[in-house]
Amino acid sequence: MKVPYSWLRAYCDPGLSPEEIGSTLSMHSIELERISHQGAPADDGFVVGKVLSAEQHPNADRLRVCEVDTGDGGRTIVCGAPNVAAGQTVAVALPGAVMPDGTKLGKAKLRGVESNGMILSERELEIGEDHDGILVLADGAAPGTPLSEVFAVAEPVIELEPTSNRVDCFGIYGVARELHAVTGAELAPAPWEGDAEATGEGKVEDYASVTVEVPELCPRFSARVFTDVTIAPSPPLLKARLRAAGMRPINNVVDITNYVMLLTAQPLHAFDLDKVPGGEIIVRTAREGEKMTTLDGVERTFDTDAVLVCDREGPTGVAGIMGGQVSEVSDTTTRVLLEVATWDGVNILRTSRKLGLRSDASNRFEKQLHPEMALRAQRVASKLMVELCGAKLVPGTIDVTGEIPEAHRIRLRGERVKKVLGIEIPAADRAEYLRRLEFEVTEDGDDLEAVVPFHRHYDVTREADLVEEVGRIHGYAKHLPSTLPKIVQGGGLTRDQRLRRRAEDALRDLGYDLIVSLSLVDPGFAERLRIPQDDPRSRLIGITNPLSGDHSVLRTTLLAGLLDAARYNLAHGAPRVALAESGRAYLREGTPSDGTLGGTFPGDRKPPAYEPWRLAALASGPMPGGWRGEDAEPDFYVLKGALEALAAQLGCAVEVEAASEPFLHPGRAARVLVGGEPAGWIGEVHPLVCREWGLEAASAFEVDIAPLIAASPIGAEQYEDVITYPAVHQDIAVVVGEEVEAAAVAQAIRDGGGKLLRSVELFDLYRGEQLGEGRKSLALRLEFRATDRTLTDDEVAAVRERIKESLEGIGGSLRG
């Protein structure tokens, strides 16, 4: 909302600079966006002049040599405008004046005649487009009068950002009212006081009729008729104000509608009555697919929610958004029908969104205006129509309206203000602030009763709203104390959250950089990962109104984001990447486990999707061997080592079993198990997937964090005596068939070892001729320990014998 400084001060002038007004409003009322500037940098050097004579230039056909009275006697000004004539009152820039475009005016010799100033056109003043001739002012202002007394030459513009609940502040008078409330400076009477005298013939019903078929969407439709309208440019004051407020002057009638809207926040629309067949206006919803060309020259198609203002022959305007071309006011217009209506804000917003068409009018209507505002704007506009267009107002106002909502009466308890804000505001101040905001206030001891003014009807409806009004005008910045809530409740992170941090830290400390990738992704990721369509990870949750296809579905795996980041970094010169992400996947279906990280969230209503928290890591590019070793591709076992270290940091163990994933190397892929239950995958990324991302090779894993945390003993550990009865260690070598997995060997050892066997750790793998074709030897370190005695050699030998028997069950034998 652009608020020209001089226009605002016409209604409330606290004697503050534009910057001070901006910051004062920011602290109490509406946020300041910026201060901008319209017109010349300063008023200096711009004066009213009177053309005493205009003679032909001796040496130039198209120039006139004028004698101009600028209050300090006559001066000679050479002027090129065809319309300059003796007797005119004109705008003059004296030498030294700085023009809006920044040039400083000096004395100039034009074809041998010295010109001592410049007679200005509208365009030079930046108040209009007209450059063909000079701006001729109305008579009255004495020569030498500063031009700024006629209209703003140099205009600071206070650009405010009213919030959507403050439609009143989309009008200059509303902003002036706020300024008055905040500063106490006097507020000028409202512009809608008084009305134009109706001097037209007959009565309004003789000229026009209005039928509202949808009263719920059009709470009020008022119309007035003006005859004898003379279309002309608006006077400079109006043009300057419109310009500074960001609107283009067009002609006096259109300018009046814009001007009144800018002043009151109530939009208006002028019809050329002679282009409304029969003067009949019908307000109805559109028929499906109905079309109309709006004022901007675009043909629009409507659905049945859109409200149209129609004449007998069809639509002539889109209610509350934009008029149509058929009934546009033009230079030949002599009779005007002025519509000032109230529309249903929700409907206007919906229609404007659907059409992709926003206007100054829709921006105000969508915030819901009170029907009372319509008649106020009629009065302001009528006065201007008579004054500026020489129009005659036809007696009467067509006013199709339902029940006007009654003003709210709200009680404000004194203690409530203190209780909510924690600020003591004296009762008299509370009443005063509300009165300045045009509430009708009746004091009742420490309490008061307030009647809400129409312009705040939809915003202030409860005691809490009055508390805000009183509090903000009083001022938070100056008066709000700083105290802390007196609530006793254990705060902090849950165990799950603490362990998640630990897991993230573990990944980082293992050398994996944590990334944060976008969860809204391109739906093509699933196909690029070779995930079949019937896989749950291909059943993507999509949005209906994406910004672009690149961000239109939620990810179902963290892998694609890691691959993207790997590609990015490798392409930007990184020799290798080791990356990890801690975040959610988003699936249509799944069984949440306990806790937020398992996808179970607080609240009575079940969330519509399944959002488990995942940990994922990926490495690509040679892992460093340095100056004394060989670089090595990060293969399956590198990632498995990281996964095991991560699990170990959480105090739990992971197991894997060979299992394929569409995006993994078929022979180097595994399912990750925690406590025997599937919790994710690990493997070398499929060469075709690597190729898709432009990578040579990569390995990765992705696991649900909830089962890891559920399996973690952290926090619940109990002391165990491992010192009194020390462990016995034995290394064994087991020869088995090539097809037997290490996990099966370890399991057979555990089965045979019973509870005295405390750990099994594989430390070597050997293949050689003496073992025979298709055989391999695993070297394992076993730890035996009892909690209540030192184990004897005989005991250990007996266990070892049972282990041997157990291994025979899988075709294994102890070697040596």
Binding site: R501, L514, G542, W627
Partner: protein, 368 residues
């Protein structure tokens, strides 16, 4: 005999003094102290001597033997030490070569770190940390936050709507299949206000970090995916002044001990009064001017930087959790929400929000 012993002793001592390696020493040991050596023979033959000679010869020979043994041991130790010295000297390495390679030290990601810092500040003030779903019901994202259908503020949020056809077939909302605007990607972390009040009676103090989504195209300060942290404190006597105190403590913990906050009026449908909160600029100290006299670009010369939106929970919001113990006439409290990226950008001079999602490790590793 005694002279012979003395002679042997002198001979042996000289030989020891001249020995230069372990082999020579061993040879000397065998020659003078071995089983077949003369000195050993003398000691062995003592019994055959004249009784008067036995004493002096025995002690003389023993003394010589001990002396020689000691000299041999001393020299052996000396030679061994010299040998080790030599070996160590040969084993010297170029200590200036690089260390054995590890994966380079990785970094946490500034976004995660900042989120943790903020969580910890509020945890220290007594807030619990909760998390909520991102695919959310319109009910929690809007309706229960006092955004009635058609409310302009609802439209202002630039909501992403979830296509109901892409949800599980058994998802029902009030018993019905979801409509086109019933499920959203949450536009803020505020839906957890109502979710948390449904499961915890007052008093309650929580913060909610997490991802949010809005259909804002990417630019230097916007991303369709971003992070927020929500705060909610509700009890019988929680005031706007308590919000101020809480945010002052936050501002000081994150931006430095001298910081303070400033409240301005704002508008959010789910708070009343609503307040925008600025923090005094930590670069210029609030003056708007840098030490060199130029205008501070961070706060644009204002001395204050907007960091979050907040306010007192609107009574209408309590209306949605009345049966959970939140009678709007009896309880009151505050709520706030801030962008985590914005806090990190301000604090660490990050010029563009997109940097957080680019995942360039050269950037990631600038923040440990």
């Amino acid at each position: 005999m005694l002279e012979r012993i003395e002679k042997l002793r002198q001979e042996a001592s000289a030989a020891i003094a001249g020995a230069s390696d372990a082999a020579a020493l061993e040879e000397i040991r065998v020659r003078y102290l071995g089983r077949k050596s003369e000195l050993t023979g003398i000691l062995r033959g003592i019994a055959d001597l004249d009784p008067a000679e036995r004493g002096p010869v025995g002690s003389g020979a023993n003394a010589a033997r001990k002396e020689l043994e000691a000299a041999l041991d001393a020299l052996a130790a000396e030679l061994e030490a010299a040998e080790l010295e030599r070996e160590l000297a040969e084993g010297a390495i170029d200590v200036t070569l690089p260390g054995a390679p590890q994966l380079p030290a990785a970094a946490q990601n500034l976004l995660i770190r900042t989120q943790r810092e903020i969580e910890d500040v509020f945890a220290g003030l007594g807030f619990r940390v909760l998390e909520g779903p991102e695919v959310e019901l319109d009910y929690y994202n809007f309706t229960a936050l006092n955004h009635p259908p058609g409310h302009p503020a609802r439209m202002e949020q630039d909501t992403f709507y979830v296509d109901p056809a892409t949800l599980a077939p058994d998802v029902k909302i009030d018993g019905l299949a979801p409509g086109p605007e019933d499920v959203v990607l949450r536009t803020h972390t505020s839906p957890m206000q109502v979710r948390s009040m449904e499961v915890q009676e007052p008093p309650i103090m929580i913060v909610v970090p997490g991802r949010c989504y809005r259909s804002d195209p990417f630019d230097a300060t916007h991303s369709p995916v971003f992070h927020q942290i929500e705060g909610l404190a509700v009890g019988e006597d929680i005031t706007l002044a308590d919000l101020k105190g809480t945010l002052d403590a936050f501002a000081r913990a994150i931006f430095g001990p001298e910081r303070e906050t400033r409240f301005r009026p704002g508008f959010f449908p789910f708070t009343e009064p609503s307040t925008e909160v600025d923090v005094s600029c930590f670069r210029c100290g609030g003056s708007g001017v840098l030490p060199d006299g130029t205008r501070d670009p961070l706060c644009k010369g204002v001395g204050w930087i907007e960091i979050l939106g907040s306010g007192m929970v609107d009574p209408n919001v309590f209306g949605f959790v009345r049966e959970h113990g939140y009678d709007p006439d009896k309880v009151q409290g505050f709520a706030f929400g801030m962008g985590i990226e914005r806090i990190a950008m301000l604090k660490h001079a990050i010029p563009d929000l997109r940097k957080f999602f680019e995942n360039d490790v050269r950037v990631v590793r600038q923040f440990r």
